[in-house]
């Protein structure tokens, strides 16, 4: 028994196997599993399911070490999205995912479909999406090609999310030459559901129909999952047809129809047809339910005639869902879809026999035993070894790097840092995203360290944020992994919210290279330590390897997406100084650390030195202190110290609201023993700048949590002067000059005439 080739199927040869990305060993494994030569259709299925993107074959053993449990975690890793309880019968579903490779060759559609995919991951859990975030990494904005990528990615994200009507409220954007040949586009979605409506993508009930829902299946995106599982090369441009094309209007209809289906009680499971399309959605649902499934490809609604089972199974056409309905309820399902002008077609059923079977009419074209299709995937633990060059960089004494002449005026240095695109205002980007739709945004882009939305029908607020400093991870992966989580938690806590849980998007190079796998293993270990210390378990995520181009690998970038809860939304704390006369306090302590800083990168063009130490007990104490201070309503503002250090945090606090910029009179004489540039621009962890009308209350609270607290200045008048005193030195400028540096940097860079996909193409440059 079993599958037989279709007339016209290519003969399985070693070359064809290699083209499908299978190693000879993996092919042998497949033959052994089947007990025969696979059909072309089966080879296609396995090529997708055993791709890195779908199988996590290089990452699974490492990911298993992450903490995933807490009493509030309702659904951990392994589903379409993680889910936590936020009380009152309400739950929050959230997930982050990469769309790096598609965005590198087709930025607009690559980014748009990234947004579409992550939205579907959340609403298939029964959750209504309420917020979107994006974590983006690009090369330097001096390059016309980078500006083309930025413009396309931003427009793609905006057009999709704006149309579906989900506010894009937060995220981060970093520019560094390390991402020149391989930008990172990570999209995160957060949704809200009633706990009772939580649904899992688990096929159940022999005889239940399997239904394809939403858009019709076309020939687009075939082998997208495999494309995402290889390095970007000169040939990648030619794979642009593997990038899917999104239609946010259909997504909006599918969103409404899916939520209606889930609450209707007519279905038992639902899953997005995402990477590897119908193949992975049906195989994964069967595997989770420990049942068999049979699908007839002639029943799948298609966009064009003559599509083969191979194409139908591997298409990544967007805006499609796979549903397992209750037997006899098919007409109800159809009626709901018709209401939203969408198609629903029964394409198969759940069967008792433990096989995964695909037919074309009566002809069996693929048949795999049991659930082994997913679980029999190979697992690798590659060699790991740190690169000698990184060890050398980390050991460098960065204090020996001579200052430039201009640095005798630290305000010059400050303006340079404020106009660094990584630090500068991202409003040029965020104003293209609808951040206020759904009328629940309390703090949106640029208002604070994290965004906060009000949970409708409650008095609670939800804080959301993404973070990762890839430079730290590159220079010391374990510390960088810790800091990614700790910084995210700090940002959440600055709004007054209690950090609850994380999702992660692990962007790394080629795992077969020992130095890359070392980065991966160590960064995940660091993340895990921080998650344990901060009580923020991992509820899911995504691994994106092979982020390499001929220019090299990206900085290892394990992006953290975090959600936090404000028990009383009205306690929310924003980021900017507000009230003249308020005391400015520093929580945490400056150090002489200067390694791995934005200062060294921006002013000296150097990625070097050891990143700052991350003491997790201190981080936890700071988070607890900030949350309690918000609830006690003693803070006017809170903003963490990160890229650019203390001086940048103070400057941003003074002028992040340009039209309401205020002066600040800062005195750091208590730290005069530190090198000035480390004091002002070093990135010591565990710190936040707060302003308060009641500094004594803040000090008492900090003391109770064991958090060092220093009164370092006073908020000045509207449009006043920004001055810093260290011992006998005093530097002063009008707040508008630093505001101009921060607010105008990206708009003036993006206003340059050339935005081009051809100029300075990295692939061409690297092939010389």
């Amino acid at each position: 028994m079993g599958a037989t080739p279709r007339p016209g199927d290519p003969v399985i040869t070693p070359a064809l196997v290699a083209e499908h990305g299978l190693t000879p060993d993996e092919y042998t494994r497949l033959e052994r599993m089947l007990g025969r030569t696979p059909t072309f259709t089966e080879l296609g299925i396995i090529s997708a399911l055993w791709s890195e993107h779908c199988s996590y074959k290089h990452s699974r053993p490492v990911l298993r070490t992450l903490p995933t449990k807490a009493p509030w975690v309702l659904q951990g890793p392994g589903e379409n999205a993680g889910v936590i309880s936020v009380g009152d019968g309400l739950a929050v579903a959230f997930k982050i995912e990469s769309h790096n490779h598609p965005s590198a060759v087709e930025p607009y559609q690559g980014a748009a479909t990234g947004v579409g995919g992550i939205l579907r991951d959340v609403f298939t859990m029964g959750a209504r999406p309420v917020a979107m975030l994006n974590s983006l990494r690009f090369g330097a904005l001096d390059s016309a090609r980078v500006r083309w990528l930025v413009s396309g990615v931003v427009k793609g994200i905006g057009d999709y999310g704006n149309c579906v009507g989900i506010p894009t409220v937060a995220g981060e954007v970093v520019f560094d030459p390390a991402y020149e040949g391989n930008p990172l586009v990570n999209a995160m979605c957060v949704g809200v559901l009633q706990e009772k409506d939580l649904i899992r993508a688990k096929a159940q009930g022999v005889g239940n129909p399997v239904i394809a829902v939403g858009a019709r299946t076309g020939r687009d995106g075939i082998h997208g999952a495999s494309f995402a599982s290889e390095d970007l090369t000169e040939a990648s441009e030619a794979k642009r047809p593997r990038v899917q094309v999104g239609d946010p209007f259909t997504e909006k209809l599918l969103l409404e129809a899916s939520l209606e289906l889930i609450t209707s009680g007519h279905i038992v499971a639902i899953q997005d047809m995402g990477a590897a399309g119908l193949t992975s959605s049906s195989a994964e649902m069967a595997e989770r339910g420990d049942v068999g499934v049979t699908i007839d490809t002639t029943l799948v609604p298609v966009r064009e005639t003559g599509m083969t089972p191979y194409e139908i199974l591997l298409s990544e056409s967007q805006e499609r869902m796979l549903v397992v309905a209750k037997k006899g309820h098919e007409d109800h399902v159809r009626a709901i879809l018709e209401k939203w002008d969408l198609v629903a077609a029964v394409i198969g059923e759940v069967i008792a026999e433990p096989v995964y079977r695909v037919t074309e009419g009566d002809h069996v074209v693929a048949e795999f035993p049991g659930s082994r299709l997913v679980t029999d995937c190979p697992v690798y633990t590659p060699d790991a070894a740190e690169g000698a060059d990184v060890q050398r960089l980390r050991a460098e004494d960065v204090h020996a790097i001579p200052e430039k002449a201009e640095e005798s005026d630290p305000l010059w240095t400050l303006r340079q840092l404020l106009s660094s695109p990584t630090i500068a205002s991202k409003r040029w980007i965020t104003r293209q995203y609808d951040s206020t739709v759904r009328a629940s945004t309390m703090l949106g882009p640029g208002d604070a360290d994290a965004a906060v939305i009000r949970l409708k029908g409650t008095n609670k607020g939800l804080a959301v944020k993404t973070d990762c400093n890839g430079r730290y991870v590159y220079l010391e992966p374990r510390v960088g992994g810790r800091i990614a989580v700790a910084e995210c938690a700090r940002n959440i806590a600055c709004t007054g919210a209690r950090p609850m849980a994380i999702t992660n998007c692990l962007n790394f190079g080629n795992p077969k290279r020992p130095e890359v796998f070392f980065q991966f293993r160590e960064a995940v270990a660091g993340m895990g330590e921080a998650c344990t210390a901060l009580d923020t378990p991992v509820t899911g995520g995504n691994v994106s390897f092979y982020n390499e181009s001929p220019l090299g690998a990206v900085f290892p970038t394990p992006t953290i997406g975090m959600v936090g809860l404000l028990e009383c939304a009205d306690d929310v704390v924003q980021g900017a100084f507000r009230t003249p006369g308020d005391a400015i306090l520093l929580l945490g302590t400056p150090t002489a650390e200067l390694g791995a800083s934005e200062y060294l990168s921006r002013i000296h063009g150097r990625t070097t030195g050891a990143p700052p130490a991350c003491n997790l007990a201190h981080e936890r104490a700071l988070v607890d202190c900030l949350v309690e201070a918000a609830a006690a309503r003693v803070l006017s503002s809170a903003h963490d110290c990160s890229d650019g250090g203390l001086a940048v945090a103070l400057a941003e606090s003074a002028m992040m609201r340009r039209e309401a910029a205020v002066g600040a009179d800062i005195d750091l004489s208590a730290f005069a023993s530190l090198p000035v540039r480390a004091l002002l621009f070093g990135e010591a962890q565990g710190r936040a700048v707060v302003s308060s009308p009641n500094p004594d209350a803040v000090a008492a609270l900090a003391a109770r949590h064991g958090v060092p607290v220093h009164r370092i200045g006073t908020v000045g008048a509207s449009g006043g002067s920004f001055s810093i005193t260290v011992g006998s030195h005093r530097w002063s400028t009008g707040v508008e000059t630093i505001a101009d540096a921060w607010h105008d940097a990206i708009p003036s860079l993006m206003a340059r005439v050339a935005i081009s996909s051809d100029d300075a193409a990295p692939a061409a440059a690297g092939s010389a």
């Binding site: 427009k155 009507g165 209809l253 002008d341 104003r431 995203y433 951040s435 206020t436 739709v437 009328a439």
Partner: protein
């Protein structure tokens, strides 16, 4: 007073409008479905924001032909009040309930930001709870918001006091810098000649509570209640 909020395929501000009217204003709201021919006794119809029918072809161009719109047009022709917000403004123009048209923003980019509006006419049924010249803070979020109209039409609008809101700076001046989309004469909202149809690009339903950053939009809905009570 009962508000009817239409859901077109692709509407995404319909729920916001319902909540503004019910929880914000304390009035009744009924959801209306685009395929129906029934306004369900709504006294006021709200055409909400979003991307009706994907805004394919042209923003609002397909929605005007939907079944419910035939009832809305009849309601408006009877003098019934209609509010078109953002995509709803575009639909109202396409349906000829309002003069003029909304073009792609002059920046060619989507714009999501808070704007300052100056109330130009505080005697309409939509603005009687404001004062003339009052400045309001209300968000915008659109890609096609550049209001335009031919010269004669513009003169008629101005002469009849049909321009209701203008984009201005914090001092109340209608400058180019305060204009987020290149709208003719900084026009942000207009009423029909009969005064019963309002179209505006900014979103008053997103400015109902201080925690949203502004509650300046609430008085627009309150004005409708005041108009009925008067």
């Amino acid at each position: 007073m009962k508000f009817g909020v239409i859901t077109f395929p692709g509407s995404n501000c319909d729920e916001d409008a319902v909540l503004a009217v019910t929880e914000g204003l304390g009035a009744d709201a009924v959801r209306l479905w685009h395929k129906d021919h029934d306004l369900q006794g709504a006294d006021v119809v709200i055409l909400p924001g979003g991307f009706s029918y994907g805004d394919y072809l042209r923003a609002g161009a397909i929605a005007r032909f939907s079944p419910i719109m035939q009832e809305v047009i009849a309601h408006a022709n009877r003098g019934g009040p209609v509010i078109g917000i953002c995509n709803g403004f575009q639909i109202a123009c396409e349906a000829h309930l309002l003069p003029g048209a909304l073009l792609r923003n002059d920046s060619l980019q989507f714009r999501s930001q808070e704007v300052i509006l100056r109330v130009e006419n505080a005697s309409t049924r939509f603005t009687n709870r404001y004062t003339a010249g009052q400045l309001l803070r209300i968000p915008i979020a659109h890609g096609d918001g550049r209001f335009t109209i031919e010269a004669d039409g513009l003169r008629r609008l101005e002469d009849a006091g049909q321009v209701v809101f203008r984009y201005v700076d914090s001092k109340g001046n209608a400058t180019a810098g305060a204009n987020p989309n290149g709208s003719l004469d900084n026009i942000a909202g207009i009423v029909s000649a009969g005064g019963n149809v309002l179209g505006m690009m900014p979103h008053p339903e997103r400015a109902i509570y201080q925690w949203l950053g502004s509650r300046d939009g609430l008085a627009l809905f309150e004005s409708m209640l005041a108009h009925v009570a008067a």
